[in-house]
Symmetry: C2
């Protein structure tokens, strides 16, 4: 895997990535974190973004509180997998702390509103993709978000857009499949043991319940979201579309962001010139998924990944990232890359900050 | 009245105003417009920010839609006084169009949410000041807004904060009186014929119903808002407090902003060093109110007023501003001043743009 800078790996679009890194080094971005919840996350076996499926309604709420208010407020504990591995919001918070990056949370449709000022582009949480309608008004969410993206892009050198959406890899698979992208067994999970079968089974049932075959909605991204997606997807796509007219726009996340890329590629192909995905090495190393091929199959934009080694950590909850737990989310990879580009802090300083936040919030 | 620049008048804090103008000329501000509604606006005789008291619930909704989406969406018509004089949002929109100023709407507590992405610092509309509790959680609104102000101040050279709150002059009077500022007959109105008696009677009843005398809450701004205010006041004060730590912060409005100034002066006197009020000449010329004296009584910060002559307009709805209708609101004065400082457009170009928007939206 090609190292493009200290602690940054580049696998796709290397030539454009070099230019992108020049354009984003020592600049002042704005980090947007988009929260969404769905009933899809509560289908047994799919989401590990919480100790049990019901609590996934609170995961984005707490994630957004951690990055804006410094700690969870609505619930007591930091969100964690059933094994107790804490949310990547800890990594994001550490990155934002180090780089002093301005951040704003965005509500794309959350069951439980966080206790923080928030930009609202939609109010309604998503249904299950097993129902006919998973997201009621994707076009309205997209338009609202696009306006927000335009307005906010003027306020920063570039935008980094992260997300927190339990069950989001299943809805991403649903949208990609409806749009004809061969994504089976390529979508990641917050578990080392990726529950592909459960996800594929759910997506197939969802398509069937909506009378759809794979690829039926190839040119209809909003229909694909409506039947098989989640409210985060049109929100992130809209924000990116509004922002990418003005300059570099970073989708900060793992394989879910390939669904956003597919939506954007169909909505307005030219816009993807300014889009790249920034993620973590744990996503690249995940043998149960393949973000590199997914991006190539859609549009070969630059893919950067932050390379920090948490096996050196003193805490099992962080070491576990090296075993494939959690891996990415809440814009962790993207904000860590930004921190490297802006502050030139080294790996051990980043790990130290992450451990500090772990001690403060988890222990 | 002292002209400090072409089409800009300065009455208070001239020395600091000179420095402020240097600091804000050719800079890139962000305009925030805060919407709030209250039951106070529906007390007969108080608010003219709508054709009838009940419709004032929709006025901030439409105002925010006009400045962010270009036209009212939730209701059909542009808000107007009972005489048909249109909202100052037309002037604000014209200023923002000319200067291409980035803008974000803020929900401080609105009965009807606008159809636009919005930053939410509070959800609950205000009660009547005749009730014991007019605003449920002013401290929470203030804190939410303060965090938002801090985050947004980092994204712009300076912040301009406007508001749209029907009945807001009565609640401003209520807060000022509760805090011991002699504001009777000094607070403005959107009518040439200022209903002072009705306002004073309402405020006196409100104080009585809360077992308060004038000045009882001199050092307790949050208590004053809770019993006698509206949700816009802690939102604007909080945004300004968060922003003023970083640089110049403009309260864009008329006499209502003196209540915000009083709140800030009690919360954190040092902060007011960076605060100024930008308004319109129509407020200065209003013989039924006295913003200059109000500011002097609280803290003598710079007061600038935009001086454009709408008597030259072809439309009665705009000419009427010269007769004392509407006068100010939705940050009209502040955004017009910013437009002059940034674009150097002259008076006739501004009037032409306002007439264009009048033709498009009102006629």
């Amino acid at each position: 895997m090609g190292k493009i800078r200290e602690n940054i790996i580049c696998t796709n679009g290397k030539k454009r990535a070099e230019k992108l890194i020049e354009e984003t080094t020592d600049k002042k971005p704005l980090f947007l974190c988009v929260g969404g919840t769905t009933e899809t996350a509560k289908i047994p076996g799919l989401s590990m973004a919480g100790k049990n499926p019901e609590i996934t309604d609170y995961t984005p709420t707490a994630d957004l509180e951690i990055i804006t208010q410094g700690k969870p407020i609505t619930i007591e504990d930091v969100p964690a997998t059933p094994q107790g591995i804490p949310t990547p919001a800890l990594l994001t918070k550490s990155a934002l702390d180090l780089a002093k990056t301005p951040k704003l949370p965005v509500n794309a449709g959350m069951k439980v509103k966080p206790s923080t000022p928030i930009i609202e582009v939609n109010e309604d949480s998503g249904n299950s993709i097993l129902e006919k309608i998973a997201v009621k008004h994707p076009e309205q969410i997209y338009k609202n978000a696009e306006k927000t993206g335009k307005a906010l892009a003027k306020l920063a050198d570039y935008l980094i857009i992260g997300e927190t959406t339990p069950g989001g890899t299943t809805t991403a698979l649903g949208v990609l499949k409806a749009m004809g992208v061969n994504a089976e067994n390529k979508i990641s999970s917050s578990m080392p043991d990726n529950p592909h079968e459960d996800k594929i089974k759910t997506v197939k049932s969802g398509l069937k319940n909506s009378n759809l075959d794979t690829g039926d909605l190839q040119r209809k991204p909003m229909e694909a979201i409506k039947t098989m997606g989640d409210p985060m997807l049109p929100a992130v796509a809209g924000l990116a579309s509004g922002s990418a007219k003005f300059g570099p726009t970073i989708l900060a996340g793992g394989t879910q962001m390939t669904a956003v890329l597919k939506i954007l590629a169909e909505k307005d192909r030219d816009i993807t010139e300014n889009i790249s995905i920034w993620t973590t090495r744990w996503i690249l190393e995940d043998k149960s998924s393949n973000i590199v091929e997914l991006i190539k199959a859609i549009r070969d934009i630059p893919l950067l990944a932050v390379d920090i080694d948490l096996s050196k950590s003193n805490y099992y909850g962080l070491k576990a990232y090296e075993e494939g737990f959690a891996k990415e989310g809440v814009g962790a990879g993207g904000t860590l890359i930004e921190t490297i580009l802006k502050t030139k802090v080294n790996e051990s300083a980043m790990i130290e900050k992450i451990e500090q936040n772990y001690e403060k919030l988890v222990k």
